[in-house]
Each structure stands twice: as structure tokens, then as C-alpha cells.
Amino acid sequence: MDLVSCDVLVVGGGGAGLRAAIAAAESQPSLRVGVVSKVYPMRSHTVSAEGGAAAVIKPGDTLDAHAYDTISGGDWLSDQDAVEAFVREAPAEMLRLEHWGCPWSREPDGSVAVRPFGGMKAERTWFAADKTGFHLLHTLFQTSLKYECIQRFDEWFVTTLLVDEGRCQGVVAIEIATGRLLTITARAVILCTGGCGRVFPFTTNANIKNGDGMALAYRAGAPLKDMEFVQYHPTGLPFTGILITEAARAEGGWMLNKDGYRYLQDYDLGTPQAKPVLRSMELGPRDRLSQAFVKEQEKGRTLKGPYGDYVHLDVRHLGEALIDRKLPFVRELCRKYAHLDPVREMIPVRPVVHYMMGGVHTDLAGATGLDGLYAAGEVACVSINGANRLGSNSLTECLVFGARAGVAAASFAVEAPPANGTASAQAHDEQRRLESALGARREGEERIVDVRTEMQTIMEESAGIYRVGGVLQDAAARLRGLQERARRLALDDHSLTFNTELTSVLELSFMLDVAETIVHSALRRCESRGSHQRSDFPQRDDERYLAHSLAYRAEAGPPAIQYLPVTVTRWPPGQRVYGR
């Protein structure tokens, strides 16, 4: 098997990955930095982020206010030392993107403009119209091209981490175009592979969001933290799950039920005003808005559509000029994918799986418990997002913690010895595993789509907006059964050249592992906090659960769940108050 080596290897080429690669290259210019991604970096899912990225920059706003919004938004499950580092470093990261050419929207005087966002008590969300993720990603990607020490492995699919003597020493990857296996050894590896929305049937997440990095770390022995916390975004287009950005509400859009009534006023989120009020009504946090949808549905006050119940997002009163200036992508998406013009018509929306608060457990430097392995961005859980992430914190998180992980991994790599000889032996084991798995597929009997669809159905039924113990218990057993069925998947495609059916099988296997950690973590947390609502345990229980769950892979059987106390610095747990 061919072998290449680099000093720092970044897995994933989205916002966090590219930021990490550049940080590593700048902090230790003598290092060889690799970026391996299963897609070309500019296809990464960061590209789909719309609304903006939070960082304190305007007079009157404070770092403490950003920290408090984030911690209360996360229902006090955020680690406050991480949040403090995050808000402190956010402004410089955003300015750096500005200096690299990001086309941030501007005030008339040429300064960077900010907009309000859900759960934020001040206007602090930087935006590039409503294509912020797209511009951020392309700015990072284009800037990364000037660093000669960054070597890319585009369209290489990582199948496993190489771990020996308690240290991560590289990866095995498939070159998708040729089917060739490659060992990439590294002194440090940074996982930046994003989330896993595709374990659910209805998601804003791109087809590539299969929890690859989460499963890679989990299989290598690193625990997954807070996996029960799954964010439903309140405004997705039915059928496609395409996101209509929270910026539509930040600019003044209304959520209306079937009677044209601003129903959020019935859910302790404030009283309706003509103009948007910060931390109130439509600018409440995403968990509370998605839960309000379910309550409206139970009252029979939602509308019925071919793709499930929905409510309306109404932006008509904002006028065409504002919509075209600040929400042009919303208009484009509605026209192209919902066949309506939001200037004249209301937008049908329903809650949609959007983001994983949980992920690979890391410290503030992005280090996992496994030496030489780092993680940043949605794949990781530091945790700043706690039990519910605020909109516009995730892009900033990619930058702040991507940079931190890049610097930390680079300085680790300078000290670390090169990969030892066992890496190539392990790589050969992986080759045999892949070949025997593929060989067996010739007699397979299950179609990928059937197993995948059943997994998604199980997840929606058991780990949706409201959960209950018995259903989760049942889901855990059914997922075990699916793991067995996944071993008998049939493959139509036996070619080595660009075999996307093979990568789909590997992705499905990643997703099944991740799905199990979600369900088991949700089952064990007998309280309701943020996005994790247990109908059988409706109260928050700080006595028992002011703690992060850690899901460890067991030798056989389901994951083992342990707990780690939350770090509280200056904000003792309190009540989440919105709209008053």
C-alpha cells in the first residue's frame, strides 16, 4: 500500500478544517500540513450556512453579554471557560476573515454591519447577505491556496484512524477516483468533518454529513460528548428540508399558525411587537421555537401539507427592497425550491434537524483524550453550545476552535516522534477488513436504502423534539438489529473507479454508530434540558445532570455512558428567560 507522510493532517476541508490548516501552517511554517476531504473543499457543508457569525464588535455590546447569551441559550450545559475563550477570540477571528477578503455586508460608513439573531441580547451577528457560510468557506479556501506547505488530498475518503501506543499516527484513506488505498501518517491529526444530520430523515444537512469524524474517533476509543442534544431549526422548507435562515426572523419575519396568529406569544416568549425585539418572540432560541411548533401541532393549529404539518413564516411586510438586499438567498431558495415569492407569499416551514451540539469530546485546545488527535467545529464538543446552540455561533466556533486546534496540533507535531512502524501493519489490517467486507457484499441481501431509511425513521420517532424512555429503549434495540443487517448489505457496484456505493456503505456504518450514541445518551439523561426534552422527565435536574454525557465504545454491545461535570466560572445555573 502506498504511504505518504505529513506532520499535521486535517480531515475535512470546511470552515474548521481550512482554518485549522492555515493556523498550523502559520504557527509552524516548517511543517507539512495535509488536508484530506471526501469532497473538494469548496463543496463542504459550511457552504450552506446562511445567516451569519457572531462576534462582539459594536459599542455597547460586551464579551460578557455574548457569554451570557450563549450559556443561557445552552441551558447551562456549556463549559463556561470554553465560552469565555470563545467570545474573547471571536472578534479577532472575524476581523482576520475580513482581512482575507470575506465580503461582509457593510454600514454606509464602510464599517462591518451586524444584525440581530435568535437568543442574542445585542446585535452582534456579522453577515455576508444571507450567504455567510458560502463566502466564509470560499474566502478560506482561496486564501489557503497561497500556503505552499498545505497539501490537499481532494476526494479521499478516510476509513480509519491509525492508533498505536496510545497515540493517533495517521489515517487510511481511499482515493475515490481510483479506489486506491493510501496510508497517510501524521504526527497529529485534526478531525474537522462536521455533523451527522443525515442520521435523520428530514434535515438541512448535505448528503455528505454522515458523522464520519465522530465515528472515526469513537472507534479509536475517544468518547463522544452530549450526543443526545440534536438541534431542530424551526424553519425548514417541507419536502427538501432546505433551511430558511433565522435572519429572516431577525430582519422582522413573523411565525404564524393556521389562523395567522403569532403563536409564539403563547409559549412564554414575550408579546408580539411590530418591530423585532431581541431575545423575544421570533428571536427566541431555536429549541424553544421548535418545541412551540409541536405544541401548536397538538392543538391542531398548524396547517396540513403533503410533506407533513407546517406553519407560516411571513416576511412580506419587510418589502422587496430589504428582502433583496439582506435576504436574497431566501428569495432565491423559495422561488427555486418552493415555487413561491416571499415578497408576495408566506413561506411554509416546519422544524428540521440542523445541528449536533454534541461531538468528539475535546478540551479548549481541541485535544481529545487520545494523544495526537484533535477535533474542531461541529464534529467536536468543547462545549460552548451546551444543550442548545444559538444561531450564528457555529461559524464563529469553526474559526476560533479551528485556529486553536491548528496551533495546538502543530506544536504537538513539532515535539512528537514520527509515526512508528506499526502504522503500516495496521494499514494492512484495514485493507484486509475493507476487502473482506467488500467481497462478502457479493452475496449481500439488504439494500443500502432500506437500512438507511429504517435508521432514519427510528431516529425521528425516538430522538426527535420530544422523547420518552420506552421509545428510546425500543430504538436502542432496533438499532442493534440494524447493525447486524448492515453487515449483509448488497453492492451493485464492484468497480474501483469512483465507487460511490462503496462510500455510501462506509457512511452508513458511521451513521449507525453515531445513531446508537445519540439514542443511548438520550435514554440515560432523565431530565429535560435545552433541545433534549423528555416527556417522562419534564424538568431540568441540575442535581443529577449538570454534567456532560460521554459515550464510549464498548467491546461488544451498546455504548457505555459516563458523566463529566460542567465547568461553571461566573454564571451559576439560572432560569432561561425570554421575552420579559
Binding site: 469532497v39 457552504v47 464599517s111 439494500r447 457496484d493
Partner: protein, 247 residues
């Protein structure tokens, strides 16, 4: 019985066949399905060996560009209903080497993109402590449309020059060069001009304008190339009149 529609899909399996072939698939016809939905239906339920790229399904990642009935399209934004009830022909993008089925090799574009130095070039970097570069909404507007390029490469597929001269640097790369040239924070236009004024740079373009017509993001590469040619011509005249050099 529900309605169906036929997709005639180009296949190419380099390990099995020397030349591309066409395979017809019948899929359910649904009003709200795009061509990509039909391809996914085929892959899931009929033929797992069909290869193509896709990711976001919302027209922004740029992965799913294909030739649909002869025209380059983002298949996630192209509806079956635009063609029904007739059969739809789906082929790879033109002017790129085909790797497998509908997948083309875009490696050459990445090389060209890097050549035009698509990043901010300045003599002096402003320290972060001094805050942002000021850029008025009007200055932003000067390059905004060129910054919308999603690298889907429909423009290369549509461009007859890109088909004739594989060295032609091409519409998207030139538009992205112009995106930085027009950015008030950038001072790199001179450096980029050195690359683009070479024979395979912008002079390759004969201004057919197909690139702008097929662009799903209204980037107007043809406009960028025109702007560039004017700037290059002015530079050339200056160099003639002022041979001691002015920059």
C-alpha cells in the same frame, strides 16, 4: 398506475468499456422532483452502480452540474417538469475528462484557479488591532457579483473556447481574478494581469457569452473578461506611450 418518465443516462465504466454508452431508466414522475432526485431514485432502488456527485441539494455547493438535454445545469435546481413527458438525456459536463459515468475530472480547474491568485494581495497587512478595512456598500457592490461563483463549472462546459483550447484559463477563474481586482482591499491586479495577459489568459476568449447565459448565480464571467480586456489594453497602450514604466 402513477406516471413515469425516462432518463437516458450516459454511462462510462473504464474497467469494462472503451466508449461511453447510454442506459435508460424509468423513474416515477413527480412534480416536485428535480433531475437529481430522479438520479438518487435510480441509485437507491434500481442500479447502485450509477456514479455522480452531489451534496447540498440547494444550489450552493456546486457539485451536481451535468449536461441535461444538451445544456449545462445544476441538477438539484432542474425540474423533471421542465422536460416531461419526453425522455430526459443526462450526460457529464462537456470539456472535462470523464472519470466514470457522470463524474468528470475537475483537477485542471483547481490548478487554473490557483494560478490567478484568488486571495487578497497587499504591500502592507493592516494589523488586526486596527480593525477592519473600511469598504462602503458601493465598493462592495463593485465586486459582489463576481464573488458569487460556486465553482460549478457550468461555464467551462458551455464555453466553446474551453472546448478547443484546454489551456484557456476559462470563465470562472477569470471572474474570480476580477473579484479580487475589484475589491477595494486588494492591490494584486498587476500581479494577476501578468498571468491573464498571457496567450492562454483572457485573450483566448472570443466573447461568445455562453458562460454568462448558463451561470446559475448571475456571476457574468463574460462581463469580467470584457472589463479585464479593457484594463489590459489600457496597460498595453500605457506601456507603449510611457516606456519608462508607470504602474
Amino acid at each position: 398506475m402513477s406516471a413515469t418518465i425516462t432518463l437516458e443516462v450516459a454511462r462510462y465504466r473504464p474497467e469494462e468499456e472503451a466508449e461511453p454508452s447510454v442506459q435508460a431508466y424509468e423513474v416515477p414522475y413527480r412534480e416536485d422532483w428535480v433531475v437529481l432526485d430522479a438520479l438518487n431514485h435510480i441509485k437507491d432502488t434500481q442500479d447502485g452502480s450509477l456514479s455522480y456527485r452531489w451534496s447540498c441539494r440547494m444550489g450552493v455547493c456546486g457539485s451536481c452540474g451535468l449536461t441535461v438535454n444538451g445544456s449545462p445545469k445544476l441538477t438539484c435546481a432542474t425540474y423533471l417538469s421542465d422536460y416531461a413527458p419526453k425522455a430526459i438525456r443526462v450526460e457529464p459536463l462537456e470539456h472535462f475528462p470523464v472519470i466514470r459515468d457522470l463524474v468528470v475530472d475537475i483537477g485542471d480547474f483547481l490548478v487554473k484557479l490557483k494560478k490567478v491568485r484568488p486571495w487578497i494581495i497587499r504591500e502592507d497587512e493592516r494589523p488586526l488591532e486596527r480593525g477592519e478595512y473600511r469598504q462602503t456598500p458601493a465598493e462592495l457592490e463593485a465586486y459582489r457579483s463576481f464573488s458569487q461563483c460556486i465553482n460549478c463549472l457550468l461555464c467551462y462546459s458551455a464555453c466553446p473556447i474551453a472546448g478547443l483550447d484546454p489551456n484557456f484559463i476559462g470563465p470562472a477563474a477569470i471572474a474570480l481574478a476580477q473579484r479580487y481586482n475589484q475589491d477595494s482591499r486588494d492591490e494584486g491586479a498587476g500581479a494577476r494581469m501578468e498571468i491573464l495577459s498571457q496567450p492562454d489568459g483572457l485573450w483566448g476568449c472570443t466573447f461568445v457569452g455562453e458562460c454568462t447565459k448558463v451561470c446559475p448565480k448571475h456571476v457574468d464571467p463574460a462581463g469580467a473578461i470584457q472589463q479585464y480586456k479593457v484594463a489590459a489594453a489600457v496597460d498595453a497602450i500605457k506601456a507603449l506611450l510611457l516606456p519608462w514604466g508607470s504602474k
